[in-house]
Symmetry: C2
Subunit: 332 residues, 2 copies
Amino acid sequence: MATIYEVAALAGVSLATVSRVMNNSGKVTEKTRQKVLSAIKVLDYTPNSMAQSLASRRSNSVGVLIPELYGPYFGALLSSIENELRDAGKRVIVTAGHSDKAREKDCIEFLLGSSCDALILHVHAVSPDYLIKISQGPVPVILLNGFIAEMADKCINVDNEHGGYVATQSLLDRGHRDLAYISGPVWKTDSFKRLAGHQRALKEAGLEVDRRLIIEGDFEEAGGQAAMTQLLTLGVAFTGVVCANDEMAAGAMEVAREHGLTIPDDVSIIGYDDVYFTRYLNPKLSSIGVHTSEMGRMAARCVLKNTYEQTDLEIQNTFKPHLVLRESVNSR
Amino acid sequence: MATIYEVAALAGVSLATVSRVMNNSGKVTEKTRQKVLSAIKVLDYTPNSMAQSLASRRSNSVGVLIPELYGPYFGALLSSIENELRDAGKRVIVTAGHSDKAREKDCIEFLLGSSCDALILHVHAVSPDYLIKISQGPVPVILLNGFIAEMADKCINVDNEHGGYVATQSLLDRGHRDLAYISGPVWKTDSFKRLAGHQRALKEAGLEVDRRLIIEGDFEEAGGQAAMTQLLTLGVAFTGVVCANDEMAAGAMEVAREHGLTIPDDVSIIGYDDVYFTRYLNPKLSSIGVHTSEMGRMAARCVLKNTYEQTDLEIQNTFKPHLVLRESVNSR
DNA sequence: CGATAGGATGTAACCGCTTACATTTAATCG
DNA sequence: CGATTAAATGTAAGCGGTTACATCCTATCG
């Protein structure tokens, strides 16, 4: 592996000059630039990125922490982040937090210790205070999904309350009056907000919130199954079910079918996230689309703008979810 | 950010000693070790990873190139790789090749220029010669999926021929005689091998290969739909369809259903990869499981063993796919 | 009790680059 | 044509660690 010294020697210039043409910073005569360029080519020189990082105090890598590296939602997120950052020549270091507090902290510290120029975090378990603390440290932090007032301009989030509202409204609009709700774990802000939106929609429609028809699930298919089973043994009538994510909706659909119910004729179901497998379900699941890729891209841009001085980028901090209507919902 | 010099000064020792206790290499008296440790704590010292990398010529990061960062298959792969490597304290730098030759090369060069200690590659388009060339360079390369004789011990792969064979055999075993096959692009080795396995199974059963019943798809749902449409207008009878992946199987199922066919009563269908959404399909798709996570973990271990001297690890290079029987296949 | 071996600690070179500043070279002008 | 100034290039000091080697203790032993 050739070094900058060898290039300088071969080209008959100083290493400062080589550095200049590499980064095309400073002035260099066209003639010497050519000498350097050809020396680089002859030696097949590639700058040592570790030395570059050390000397420039910039690693050109950004750390990403997301709950999981698989699954439709996080896959799309990571994919768009990588795409945007890779095009800008930045490295993406990934870690998975598994929605576990210790693991999330561990990953954050790992990334901070990895000389990342910035962090993009999608966490579930870690406290806002902790996030505020590290965001005040030397390395910039972008929060994906989640809003903290103290770092509002560093947050990319979706309006979950609005999403819950839209989901429920879509059923109300179609004449449904008796709605069940399968929530995610309520300690997760996302779940809580969606539920709040659901309840607001009911109230605005002059309907009462029947607590029995609100079941707390786990964001997994099994939780959706359990919730639906519970709902069906409740003896309380309902014509529509709003689910806080698509996995649970899939589970709910399955149980409904097993109980001899036809979707959407007997019961309408709507999911949330509009994850790509919704189209494999039968009937195809209506859902709430959340611009996942857009958000990932935006987080990446936020980093490019704040950390890598691409100041001309426009940042959108909050995204509005929207209704994606398919076959699982009908009118009364 | 405190440096090792400040720690040394505060502890009243030389920086070499600090370095020794940090890496616990060399001998250090318990007393001085404590002095250093407390100085580290007082200053909240974290070693600068860039400086460490430069001085030790080891970045502790491994580059990963996979076709996509989303989707059930690659998600599982990446997840297991990250998990294994993260536990060993290694950084994972991810890139997506998008099955495009230029992009794949670009990513490989990017990773090579990122001072990675090793590379894990899952490529589609790049040539074997190119892979051999870079594998002879200074940074070790592990090939995920794909076999190249010249670097056999660096290849982690699944026996695709066997997988194709098993898939077809599963239908033959159940009395099917007339089988159609929806292939992936035959220029992809994986597709080619699976098809070869299919044909071997037919021949061993004394059946003729009817070329009309072999359709080349694109590994996407749309391709499966197109292929099934074509098959149904062919006028050649068949009772089972072997698909080279689950996405195409999903597409095929949809078209079959639209044509009024019941699965598996009218036609049995089997997919390949046993990707997680198979369970959302109705009927649930039988498939060929390929130990995706295992392979990812093995690739990571291969790196740990070869590059990070964890010599005690056992490596399995080839994985045998296995049948996962669900509802989409029945007996004649 | 002085020589000695071996363990503990220190010294300094080096990893390969960036960059502020010094120096040289070339262009401009009275 | 020499002085002035700007442009091009060179010099050298870091960046913050690792590590081979030198040096200094201290316990052991004849």
